[in-house]
Subunit: 146 residues, 2 copies
DNA sequence: CTTGACCTTCCCATGGGGGCAAGCTTCATC
DNA sequence: GATGAAGCTTGCCCCCATGGGAAGGTCAAG
């Protein structure tokens, strides 16, 4: 079985060598075996593991979630319900972020639509950014201590 | 003309004192004047500036973009076209991220829909993560020392 | 033997913060 | 005037996930 150096393992798995070392350091993957001279060596199994991580990162899972997914992946007595729950949790997070960004985008588009975008300095975008006061107002006394 | 300490300026602007120091350190805002004893002091103008930053952060602008927006805000000879361009650039970035996350979400939803979510271990989600090999394959000759 | 590609560890940077600690300053209250 | 409690100062470490680079060891080919 071909034993690969980190660079080849990285290329085979589609991640950077840097990240492999990082994943090892944070305990996401077990410590790689070392050659006599100290080089990390990787087997097909470990490349497969790295590929799994790459796929999960591509779907936006966090490192913590990937750790859980790896545990499930390697546990033949897992229940698919546990995996599905993790996926649904992540879908919820994605939805939340998407909602936030859509709201930002909508506001920006509204402002941009009202901006002439010409040589004149008047600009509703800057007005909006400088305008609306937040909830907290400046309190009249100096420093509100006790 | 109330001159505020950092905590009160932070409350008035809706940002944390920590971030005010940070913005000063990275040069986003000018260095605050100091009282005799070394406390940072803030005028209404500076609170207004901080409020501007808070608004811009709320719309997802990066620190770099906010720096540019601040320059435009304080330049009475700006053209609204420049501001609009910055806003449109940011809208484009948001769209890109939204697209990526929608794609992740769609994939996850497809996988989750095919997952029984019961006590059994079989799970198409894990299959997908472990399955598809990336484009790059193990190269035969390159540096395969073993 | 030399070259150069690879590997090792270590430190630094990113963005946008949070938190804690030691030591001052300020202020209200006794 | 003393005291205690907030508030301020700086500085350092942490998060996530990653990239960059320096200084030095290793290995295979020419």
């Amino acid at each position: 079985m071909a034993s690969l150096n980190i660079g080849d393992a990285a290329a085979a798995a589609g991640v950077s060598a840097k990240m492999i070392r990082h994943y090892e350091e944070i305990g996401l993957i077990p410590k790689a075996k070392r050659s006599y001279s100290g080089y990390r060596t990787y087997s097909e199994n470990e490349v497969h593991l790295l590929r799994f991580i790459r796929q999960a990162r591509g779907l936006g899972f966090s490192i913590r979630q990937i750790g859980e997914l790896l545990g499930l992946w390697q546990n033949s007595r897992r229940s698919s319900a546990t995996v599905k729950k993790l996926a649904l949790e992540h879908i919820g997070e994605l939805e939340e972020k998407i909602r936030e960004m859509l709201a930002m985008k909508a506001t920006l588009e509204r402002l941009a639509a009202h901006c002439h975008g010409d040589h004149r300095p008047e600009c509703p975008i800057l007005d909006e950014l400088s305008g609306p006061a937040p909830a907290g107002q400046v309190r009249s006394g100096k420093s509100g201590r006790s």
